[in-house]
Subunit: 214 residues, 2 copies
């Protein structure tokens, strides 16, 4: 064999090896999409933790809207979507909430807050006990927002207002809420100042199977 | 140039093209991990829909546990975790629930169901209005389970029980629940029989900004 034969052989072998590797990587990428997606969504749920300290860093409006959209994607009884979300970015308002609620001082330092409200006009029929569903629906929406924030690299914390009548009337007054809105909570959001470890809450003793079947 | 010169040139060019493509794909794969993860978790929230028709296909215990773990990862007021999850797989019990609740006939055909209960022993102090928090906490846990199921390729639907007193007492009797447990809902799960399109619920008119600041 002449030298250029060796060169052609070498180049051909290299081309085959690199091509095979490329096909392998591409097919792996394709296959990973399902598994990785379900893992990523589960991991988001399992690694969420309440974040109370934030960096002094603004959150873009596009990110805020993503979080609000996640909230409104929650399921609601009879599809009533009985909510209204109040976004707070004004520092004066944030400070007055922080000063008035000793358990919610993080509102003063957060990037933005969402007060999740039930809207009485959308609560449904009192006779069929539908009215109480707004609390369930708005709680599911709140959890969606906390998860979306975590997915986007932010953190948040749920500061309870309802069902404490004092907190409800104080916050309603402070924000001059119309009569038809009842605040469920104040949810603070921002980029976490430090990594927060999620609590280990799994407790198999809190699971029962097929009761009453003896 | 002789013919073999052309061959060497052609092979060299092909090798360079394939190598560049490989490096590009590999670096893309590396960079994608962050972006893709947050997209996957958000997409899980945005594409979840209530699933009422299921395939006749069992769900492995490992998958059921993943869903229950997601439920217990929800935030709770003062970290009370005031819940208990009742898993129903027994067909006789499923049929009697399905027969007794005309709005929950999917229980008879689902792979399994979870009755999310509040545990009065863990509700906290009545004087500080803590008692009402179990509804919020258990609703957040329910949403986590619905999202986890969707991430795992299953579907589910939240059938309301609380705060309807008739439904509460009927279900408590049927399942012979102890006095300290109050059922919030029956959540049915299974592999979806058909693709379900999520409702479009985003409504910017339900968002307000910085109220009371004029």
């Amino acid at each position: 064999m002449k030298p250029y034969h060796w060169l052609i052989l070498l180049l051909s072998v290299a081309l085959i090896i690199v091509s095979v590797r490329l096909v392998y990587v591409l097919s792996e990428k394709e296959n990973a999409s399902d598994g990785t997606d379900s893992e990523a969504a589960l991991e988001c749920i399992m690694t969420r933790a309440s974040v109370r300290d934030y960096l002094d860093k603004a959150v873009p409006d596009t990110i805020i809207e993503k979080i609000l959209r996640a909230g409104m994607a929650a399921p609601t009884a009879r599809n009533r979507q009985p909510w209204e979300f109040i976004v707070i970015t004004d520092q004066t308002l944030k400070d007055s909430i922080s000063d008035s609620f000793e358990y919610a001082t993080m509102v003063g330092k957060s990037a933005f807050d969402v007060v999740v409200c039930g809207n009485r006009d959308l609560w449904g029929d009192n006779d069929t006990h539908e009215v109480g569903n707004w609390v369930l629906d708005c709680s599911a929406a709140t959890e969606n927002m906390l998860l979306a924030a975590h997915a986007l690299g932010l953190g948040g914390v749920w500061c309870g207002v309802y069902p404490n009548p004092e907190r409800i009337s104080k916050l309603s007054g402070l924000m001059r809420l119309p009569e038809n809105l009842v605040p469920l909570n104040i949810v603070s959001f921002g980029y976490p100042a430090a990594e927060v470890t999620p609590k280990q809450k799994w407790d198999p003793a809190k699971v029962r199977y097929n009761p009453g079947q003896d």
